[in-house]
Subunit: 303 residues, 2 copies
Amino acid sequence: MIDITFLGTGAAIPSRERAMSSVAVRQGPNVVLFDCAEGTQRQLMLSPLSFMKITAIFVTHMHGDHMLGLPGLLQTMGFSGRDRALTVCGPEGFARSLEMLLGSCEGEVEYPLDVRELSPGDTVELPDATVTAFATEHGTRSLGYIYRGPPIRGKFDKARALELGLHPGPEFAAIQRGEAVRGVAPEEIVGPERPGLSVAYTGDTVKLAGIAEACRDVDVLIHESTYDAGDEALAEKNLHSTCVQAAETARDAGAGHLILTHISNRYTSTEDMLAHAREVFPDTYVAADLGRYEVTPSEFRQV
Amino acid sequence: MIDITFLGTGAAIPSRERAMSSVAVRQGPNVVLFDCAEGTQRQLMLSPLSFMKITAIFVTHMHGDHMLGLPGLLQTMGFSGRDRALTVCGPEGFARSLEMLLGSCEGEVEYPLDVRELSPGDTVELPDATVTAFATEHGTRSLGYIYRGPPIRGKFDKARALELGLHPGPEFAAIQRGEAVRGVAPEEIVGPERPGLSVAYTGDTVKLAGIAEACRDVDVLIHESTYDAGDEALAEKNLHSTCVQAAETARDAGAGHLILTHISNRYTSTEDMLAHAREVFPDTYVAADLGRYEVTPSEFRQV
């Protein structure tokens, strides 16, 4: 299972209801943050997540509302006794930005930082997961990211197993471990291994055909949706997307589910935005601060 | 009247209950921020203050939990259409820190920034107020600040006015405007002009005799109180103060009222801290996030 926790879902200017961008993806040994705006460390404290368990942080681009929470969070982890390394990634130029941020405030970090600058297509290996960067377009060096968990074992065909004369219990377990039982090979009963669960996060971007290609068949697409339908001109001017553009990308990608985030503070309600997106891609949600979603190979639900 | 709004009252590590350091002092045309930690812009949105009305920001020192909210707040004011200048002050080295902060995140600010580095004793003139820096000691370049509002007109001695044969109404009003009435000079009835209301803010510091001297007779002393009584060794090690040390400084300064802030997250309750401080200085309060206080020439109250 992957769980997704939205820490901040507002656009460049926060509001009483929405902090600025950050979302946490948790699975097995990993707690991975995508973006880390001002306020992220406190939002983590308000969430069920432990900020000490973060394994990696991926920043989409170097605008303040996506990265100004880094020095505070990094220092707080240090003050709280972190000693294991932290992977911190962003696009070209990120290392210098981070250095300036930490330098501005005497922000020594005493545990190892594995800082990496990524290009589209680069993959970072995490324990039991990978994160792959893809190209976005926001008028600055920017990346989106796809998190992919470990491969999922093939489906166990119970009917076929019984048909072949195997008995539930130890025999089924042996087959699931990949062992042959009384001449029946596991492959006769267990389907091929499936790709791991995946969550894509765009960060800020205009609608881009390349995003749908890069995010082909993801289980969950988290797409920026700064503007509602009808505000295409604003989206174009400010290099953002509308909810409908996000929905089109989800549809074109064949995504399982779409969650909209980075909502402009100009909208006091997101009901219209949600309705407009669902006309194009029915399985759409609008993220709220501290909102959580769970994804399993067979299920997706808001919790 | 001055009103004081605490935006963040925690120490270096925030908690669910306490954001990091920032306090707003509002009087007449001024909204002055002292410190601007990560999260300050959002705390402002949760308070009754308008972030667009900030006239000046004074940073005590360049540790992250006192200044990392600057780039976000400055940008948000710009995005929201600010065009008038903003005064932003800190100790020696502050200008370079601010430049790095803004540079790290493409944080162009399109209205004029009047950035000043101050030394102890320096005074900044604001419309109808002054802010004077004083020395503190926290193992880094650091300053405390005293805000002082406009002089307060002398007391009107109503009994004396009646005795001298003046009538309430237009005659009293003329005297209050400084005009003589039927041979009675205003000075016979109105006392001498009094110094303006004052609020001192220490930022992080050990207990220092010079603070009591610099803050002589302030109406309100806002003193850091990272630790409770009994934790003097910790305070000394980390160059902070205990509640009792803060109370001793308030007493030695002859302050009107003491408000403790910068409370370590090690304490789940501040009842003991308050009791310990009140043993030394009875008129003590412990600040809470979004807590507000009003000060007039004759009154001080928590609101």
